[in-house]
């Protein structure tokens, strides 16, 4: 998502890496490239200007640490500033001690409020909450219907009535009390921030339900306009947080930086896909690392933790260290990787993965094919691929519907990886891909 920004910064830093000392000229060059990168990423012109001024000031200031090379120094400064701009720490919802907690969703048309409402409900439900979804979008035809379908899909009740948004919201509070729901999520109609009537209506809904959280839903593809939208909504209803949607596209999401800087409220959640569970807490520090091309290792580990059987992983880890990884283990790993979601997404989170790999379209069918090949082997063959002779090869190829060349290819690759892993088990990082070696394992622990 923020790939292009990190590419550009990479370009600047590569130039810096080749130099010994950070001169004023270098700083100017960084500033120039940074400006291009930020504007290309749709960061608001003024926010970008401010951001660059801060980076420049710090870069030319006295904060020169001996332990860092000039390039590292700049990366650190940009990283720090990015984290500051994106929000410092991970924000949290304000939860009321006296239920129900009321969350109001607001935003422009098409920013993804209804979907975000349902996703948020699902997330809260998975954390043991009992949310109630409220369809207060009586503007768009079938918006309430959409919410009902989504609610049904995630097993969360939906409340609405064909009156007016304020009444719906008030009625929803009674309904929540009746059903014993502890969180009420109010989905409001999309509106332009300059539409005075609709903004008044939004204020009326707010005054009727006194939301503990008022979240602005912002499309990650939004351009310069994000600043106007955010500040107007903030002035009218008082925001407590932001939800950034559609970050699974390739928009660089500079809107995130702008909005945060302008309203000073944290970005709480990010929508990462079309499915209802593709919604996660927004982590500014991780996002900054990602912008800098350091990958999103934390999200990956979290995902792995949620998906993986820990014992299995520990076992695989042990085997890996001893260099005993077999095709059987590999098959298991592959299946677990698949559980984590599309390979493409997982890959995007890895640090230092070469751009060609990240951009490469991963055909999930290929993975299925590899799986089929391994499944067509006998357990003995999986443990010891050297058993596989010509006729066994033929059998495997026939069993999995591929050619013997494909089988050969897989075996060859596997052997290479086995060797790589042996090295890794001894504490060395694999050579392939090269940049992956830059990630110090000790950082992960």
């Amino acid at each position: 998502m923020f790939d292009a920004l990190s590419d550009r910064l990479d370009g600047v830093f590569k130039k810096l890496r080749s130099r010994g000392k950070l001169t004023d000229k270098d700083i100017d060059e960084v500033a120039r490239e940074l400006r291009v990168a930020l504007l290309e990423a749709d960061v608001n012109v003024r926010v970008a200007r401010d951001f660059i001024a801060r980076v420049k000031e710090r870069a030319s200031g006295a904060e020169v640490a001996k332990s860092l090379s000039p390039a590292q120094q700049v990366i650190k400064i940009v990283n720090d500033e990015l984290i500051t701009t994106l929000g410092g720490t991970t924000g949290k919802l304000t939860m009321s001690s006296k239920p129900p907690t009321v969350i109001m969703m607001a935003g422009l048309q098409g920013s993804g409020k209804t979907t975000a409402s349902a996703k948020l409900a699902k997330l809260l439900k998975s954390q043991g909450r009992r949310p109630l979804l409220v369809g207060a979008d009586l503007q768009r035809p079938a918006a309430v219907e959409q919410l009902r379908v989504l609610g049904q899909r995630i097993g969360v009740p939906v409340y609405s009535e064909a009156t007016d948004p304020v009444q719906v919201a008030t009625g929803a509070l009674e309904e929540a009390a009746r059903l014993g729901r502890d969180i009420v999520i109010v989905d409001t109609a999309g509106r332009l921030q300059i539409d005075a009537d609709l903004m008044d209506e939004l204020r009326a809904v707010r005054d009727a339900v006194h939301p503990h959280d008022t979240l602005l839903v912002v499309d990650a593809m939004t351009g310069q306009e994000a600043v106007n939208v955010a500040s107007e909504f903030n002035e009218t209803v008082g925001l407590t947080g932001v939800v950034l949607t559609k970050i699974d596209g390739d928009a660089r999401g500079g809107a995130a930086l702008s909005v945060k800087e302008v309203v000073g409220k944290p970005i709480l959640f990010a929508g990462t896909g079309e499915k209802l569970d593709e919604f996660e807490a927004f982590h500014p520090d991780r996002m900054a690392s990602r912008i800098l091309g350091m990958g999103d290792v934390l999200t990956l580990i979290e995902k792995a933790e949620a998906t993986f059987d820990e014992e299995e992983m520990a076992k695989a880890g042990d085997k890996l260290r001893k260099g005993q990884l077999t095709l059987e283990d590999f098959l298991q790993q592959m299946r677990q990787v698949k559980k984590m979601g599309p390979l493409q997404n997982v890959l995007g989170m890895l640090p230092g993965v070469p751009k060609e790999l990240k951009d490469a379209e991963v055909d999930e069918g290929e993975i299925a094919r590899v799986e089929a090949i391994i499944c067509s082997m006998t357990p003995a063959e999986r443990r010891d691929p050297s058993l596989i002779n010509g006729s066994r090869r033929m059998r495997i190829a026939q069993g999995s519907g591929v050619t013997t060349a494909d089988v050969n290819g897989l075996l060859k690759q596997f052997k290479m990886v086995q060797q790589m892993m042996k090295g890794m088990g001894k504490g060395k990082m694999p050579r392939l891909p090269k940049e992956l070696g830059d990630l110090d394992l000790s950082q992960l622990q």
Partner: protein
């Protein structure tokens, strides 16, 4: 994609996961010291941010108790907010300020650049435009700022006019298909409703194809409109193959003798290859009636930033876009990205959405657009 590459990918991932396994097992062994998952970069003299790279809680985001609102420390934020509040107002008058100063100086150029950038024109297009304008200012010895703005306006209008024909193709006495594509939430369904109303009023027999079978209740939304404007509608079950809906719509149009089929497709991010493939398939189904597909319209939200260009490029690559519908231009968003789209891809903006009603969907007028852009 190269199968070998896939293999390598899987192996790399396998390696990483096995590593994760090691990490996890070690982490659980040392569960007494959770917390630092990624070590911060080597310490420096700089007082680093407290929260930097130290994640102490990874499992819950939602606290059961009342939390004092987490307000990350940004000293500059309120200031900037105020300043933005002021400058936003000031911005609307920024060109007036340029005019007021009378003569062209460096600040004039900076303000012009900012005006264009704030309109989402994008840096490359802005620089190109201003370079041309500089040349012209030199050649024509423009020193008066009013004249400079007029020259910029002329440049912009001329560029837009050069893109070419903006009329929607609707051949008499044959079946015409207009297909609407775009990312999620740009207003495809609403646009179709408006177009349908317009064409029904013009005496055409219109069939709507609700080929957005993905978004919950998308078909209901379109049905509502079809009934309202008096168009036929063909829809499938939610989750049904959109191809079958398009197919049915084509035969329905034939039996009803409708001359215009409007195809609503599910919003899709241009990065999702499988969904883009699906779009190609939909197009192929329409193409079974040779020549029927007259317009492939990309619907674009005016508030879209630089990503709009990538969207246009990807959708064109997949289904050969013939025009852009720029929606939600009634806000303060200027939709400047279409300048880049027209310049780089030569795809004309054909319609503009200026509000909620059908009457608010109008033909794109370069001069009006530029005036609004520079307002």
């Amino acid at each position: 994609m190269d199968p070998v590459l896939v293999l390598i990918l899987i192996f790399v991932l396998g390696a990483v996961l096995a590593t994760t396994g090691i990490v996890l097992s070690r982490r659980s062994q040392r569960s007494a010291t959770p917390g630092e998952v990624i070590a911060p970069p080597p310490p420096t003299a700089a007082p680093s941010l407290p929260a930097q790279a130290v994640v102490d809680e990874v499992d819950t985001e939602v606290e059961p108790e009342v939390e004092p609102e987490v307000e990350p420390v940004i000293e500059a934020a309120p200031n900037l907010r105020d300043r933005l509040g002021r400058t936003r107002g000031a911005f609307l008058r920024s060109l007036a300020a340029i005019r007021g100063r009378g003569t062209v100086d460096d600040a004039t150029w900076e303000e012009l650049e900012e005006t264009l950038l704030l309109a989402d024109v994008g840096l490359p297009t802005t620089e190109r435009l201003l370079d041309r304008l500089r040349e012209r200012a030199r050649d024509e010895r423009i020193v008066d700022s009013e004249a400079l703005i007029t020259a910029l306006r002329d440049e912009l209008v001329a560029q837009l006019v050069a893109t070419g024909d903006r009329t929607l193709v609707l051949a008499p006495d044959e079946r015409n298909v207009w297909m609407f594509v775009g990312v999620n939430g740009v207003g495809k369904t609403t646009t179709i409703a408006k177009v349908a109303q317009r064409e029904v009023n013009d005496g055409h027999a219109v069939v709507l194809a609700a080929a957005d079978t993905f978004r919950a209740a998308a078909a209901e939304q379109l049905t509502h409109w079809a009934e309202k404007v008096g168009a036929g509608i063909v829809k499938g079950q939610e989750g049904a193959d959109p191809g079958s809906v398009v197919f049915d719509a084509m035969s329905s149009a034939e039996s009803r003798n409708a001359d215009l089929v409007l195809v609503d497709t599910a919003g899709r991010l241009h990065t999702k290859v499988n969904l883009m493939n699906e779009l190609e398939k939909l197009r192929r189904i329409v193409d079974r009636t040779p020549g029927a597909l007259k317009e492939m319209l990309l619907v674009l939200d005016a508030s879209t930033g630089q990503n709009g260009l990538t969207q246009a490029r990807q959708f064109t690559e997949a289904v050969d876009v013939t025009g852009v519908v720029l929606t939600k231009l009634d806000g303060t968003a200027k939709g400047g990205i279409v300048l880049a789209i027209e310049a780089e891809l030569g795809i004309p903006v054909k319609l503009v959405g200026l509000g909620e009603t059908a009457a608010d969907l109008v033909e794109f007028d370069p001069a009006n657009f530029v005036d609004a852009l520079l307002a």
